[in-house]
Every structure is written in C-alpha cells, then in structure tokens.
C-alpha cells in the first residue's frame, strides 16, 4: 500500500506532460503508471506532426500555444537529446471549390488567433512542394510554423524532467480497480500495488473509456485503428507535411529521411485493434502516388497501427468530473493528443490546482456533452 497525492494513469505524452506541469507547480508525491512499455500506446504510433490549421477556435488555440512551447521545449525541459523539431510547415490541399471556400474561412479564423497561415494558389503550392501532382488539387493553405517533432524523444524529455522534480514512474503495471466513497475517489488497485490517492488523472489514451468505467464515470469516447507506414530514408526532398482531408492523406518526410504517411480507413470498428492490413497499404499507396507521384519509387519498410480516441466533437476532453471529486480526465484527442500535449498538461494542472486557466476550458469539459447536442465539430481531421 502506498499513499500518493496524485496517480496518473497512462505515461503517454498527455500523462507525462500533466505530471511535469503538476510537479513544476510544486505538487509532491506524483506517480505515473502505464500498463505496457514506454510510448506503447497512441503517442508512439502517431504521425509526428504538429499543426495549427484547424477550424474550431478551441483546437486552434490549443495548437498555437503548444507550438509556442515546442519552440523552447528543449531548453525548458533541459533535454540532452534531439527532439527533431522542425518548422517547415503543413501544406493542406483543397481538392474542390467547396473545400477551397471552407479553407478561406479556416484561414480567417486562424489569422484572427495569430496563427500565420495563408491561402495559396496552385502555383504557390507547387513552388513549396514541386513534386505535387498539379491535377490533384485546386488550391492550398500553408502555415510555416507547423511541423514535425519526434514523439519518443518529446515524451522522454517530459518524463526525465518530471523525474528530476520527483515524479516516479512504473511501467507494465495495469489499473484494475478504482474505489470511491460516494462522490470522492479513495484508492486505485493495480496489478502490483494499492494506491491511496487524493487525485487520479485518467490519461489512458485509447483505454480512457475503460478507465472511466472503472471509476463509474461515463466518458463518451471510443477508439479506432488508424494505420500508417514508413518508407526507407532518402535525401531531403520535401519540407512540409502534405495533407488533404478530402483525399484522406497526410504525408511528411521526417528529419531522419523516411516518409511517414497515413490515412483513415472508413468504417473501422470501435475497438483496440492496432494491427496492419493490406487494404490500408493498397489504398495508401494509390493515394500517395496520385498526389505525390515521385514517392512511387520509395520502398515501404514498415507499417503499423494506433488508436485514435474519438470524442463526439473531435476536440479533447480536459476536465474535472462533476460527479467524482478528485477524478480528472485528459482524453478524446481524436488523433491529435501529441501536438496538444503542452496545453493538455498546463490546463489540467491548472484545473487540478484550482488556478485560473490559461485558455477558456468550458469547451473542453466532460459536461459539454450532457448539455449540448449540436456541437461545433472539428472537420479538419484525417
């Protein structure tokens, strides 16, 4: 039996960021448990992109402030390694007049929030990525401060910084039971230990609905497999991430030289499958070659899958729970938990410590799904 002030469930990017932020604000005796190995969940399976081009204000603000942090993360967290942060932009293709008109609105919103995105003609887009198929799109948007960040290194940076502040971690330890006394959380039982707790944070990523259920809290999220592949490394030919919502692709060349690309497989069942399929490989290859014909020459070396934890409005839940004192949630990132992690950690630590939040948090609350049915849904998602 152990007494801890705060038990964080999940050592992915959200969990480590929350742990670091709480510890840096002075909270003591924080422990993080994870059911598997380091970055075994969605964090270690993500596409490694960080972007600010969204169509809801909440997502734009989360992303903008997170990028501001990433720009100084190495110094702030005193990480000895290389975070592989590069800001060479996201180029997002419009493939129809309708999408082009939506993108005009998106850029207006983004610019109003100080995100330096702009609308580009086909010729301007081709100047940035010359190997684009000019017949595959009508226009594009570009934000030069979007980019790439190594998810493994970023997670390790947060973890090591948290450890220096006294946070402890255990891996291969799974939460089995969460005990409550009416409306207050009391203890957590894992495969190895019984923790007497004041605060529990559910940062369990793909398994956050199950962890919520252990505490008797209904969280309206589900998980689905999104697949991705990596090619052999080649010399640098593409600076920005190339993305299209309508063609269903994101594709970037990471600093290491490999191309990473992913897409959504329509009609996925809601479960924890993270395996690879030939159907994905087939569709991914066709889509990539249609938009970026040159990439046809590249060898695929590996494919994998990871869970998107989907919320009803495709925006995260970063929230306390009204029904259970001491139980906090960071989940439902809908595929974008990695790039929002700095704000996830900051905002949830402010909520837990009852400080004034840096951003409005009503739109991130669990309660929003009880009171509203016509959410503003984020559309800019692959």
């Amino acid at each position: 039996m152990k007494n801890v002030n705060c038990l964080i469930i999940g050592a992915g990017i959200s969990g480590v960021s929350i742990a670091y932020n709480l510890a840096s604000k002075g909270m003591k005796n924080i422990h993080v448990v994870d059911k598997s190995y380091f970055t075994s969940g969605a964090t270690g399976r993500c596409g490694a992109g960080v972007r600010q081009q969204w169509n809801t204000e909440t997502n734009c603000l989360l992303a903008k402030k997170s990028i501001d942090f990433f720009e100084h993360a190495k110094e702030i967290l005193q990480y000895p390694g290389n975070l592989e942060f590069k800001q060479e932009g996201y180029l997002i293709l419009a493939t129809s007049q309708q999408e082009h008109e939506q993108f005009i609105k998106n850029v207006d919103l983004q610019n109003s929030l100080d995100i330096p995105s702009s609308l580009l003609s086909k010729e301007q887009a081709l100047a940035i990525v010359p190997h684009l198929n000019p017949d595959s799109f009508v226009s594009a948007t570009f934000c030069p401060t979007d980019g790439h960040l190594n998810p493994f290194k970023m997670t390790e940076a947060y973890m090591l910084a948290a450890k220096r502040l006294g946070v402890t971690f255990s891996f291969f330890e799974e939460v089995k039971k969460i005990n409550r006394d009416n409306h207050k959380i009391v203890s957590v039982e894992t495969t190895k230990e019984l923790y007497i707790v004041d605060v529990v944070v559910n940062a369990a990523g793909g398994y956050s609905a199950e962890v919520g259920a252990l505490a008797g809290i209904d969280i309206p999220v589900y998980s689905e497999n999104h697949e991705i592949l990596a090619t052999e490394p080649v010399e640098r030919i593409q600076g920005p991430m190339v993305m299209s919502f309508s063609k269903n692709i994101y594709c970037q060349q990471v600093p290491h030289g490999a191309f990473l690309m992913g897409r959504t497989t329509p009609g996925q069942p809601h479960n924890h499958d993270v395996e690879s399929t030939w159907q994905f490989l087939d569709e991914m290859a066709k889509t990539a070659i249609h938009i970026l014909p040159l990439l046809g020459e590249l060898r695929v070396v590996r494919q994998w899958g990871g869970s998107y934890n989907m919320s009803p409005d495709r925006q995260p839940i970063i929230s306390a729970t009204e029904d259970l004192e001491g139980f906090y949630i960071a989940c439902g990132f809908s595929g974008h938990g990695f790039m929002f992690a700095p704000m996830t950690g900051l905002l949830l630590s402010e909520i837990i410590l009852k400080e004034n939040p840096t951003l409005p948090i009503a739109g991130l609350s669990l309660e929003r799904f009880k009171h509203i049915t016509d959410f503003e849904v984020e559309q800019s998602v692959v």
């Binding site: 090619t231 290859a285 990539a288 046809g296 695929v300 494919q303």
Partner: protein, 93 residues
C-alpha cells in the same frame, strides 16, 4: 574491442556502447530501445540486431535469453516500392 566500434544495428548505425548506455538508463526491453535508438526501424527490420540485442538484454538482466521478449514483427518482410503496390491492383483469383 571498444564497444563504440561494435555496430549492433547496421541499418541505423547503433553501437554496443549506445545499447549499454540505454540499458543503464532503465530501458531494458527491445521496444524501448527501438523507440529511442531506432534499432529495428531500418530496412532489415531487426533481422540483424534483434537477436543480438535480445542477448545483450538477457546478459544485462541476468535472465535466460528465451525469457526476453522478441521485437514486434511488422509488415513488410522486404521493402516494396509504393508504385508496385499501387499498380498491381488486378483482381486475381
């Protein structure tokens, strides 16, 4: 021979010294080492380094080599150009 001169992963140029440094930091399974050092992420997909690293982990933890989990095997077995996949879409029975 100096551990800095012994290449364990030839796809990503990872030395025995680096493996031992990360083992010392507490990263004691293949999946940890893969994510932080890129071992097993290159063209051979751990066909070369997988068993070498399994042995290093076994020695480090003082356990039997068969008790050290092997790396996750992912498709493809061999690198295949994207265009070969995209173009070979005839319905064959």
């Amino acid at each position: 021979m100096n551990k800095k001169d012994i290449i364990i992963c030839r796809c990503e140029d990872v030395t025995l010294q680096q493996i031992h440094d990360y083992l010392d930091q507490g990263y004691t399974n293949f999946e940890d080492l893969k994510r932080l050092l890129r071992v097993g992420m290159g063209p051979c997909q751990a066909n070369t380094c997988g068993h070498l690293i399994q042995r290093e982990i076994a020695n480090y933890l003082n356990v039997r080599i068969e008790d050290v989990p092997v790396h996750k095997v992912r498709p493809m077995l061999l690198g295949v150009p994207l265009k070969s996949i995209a173009e070979d879409n005839d319905e064959e029975c």
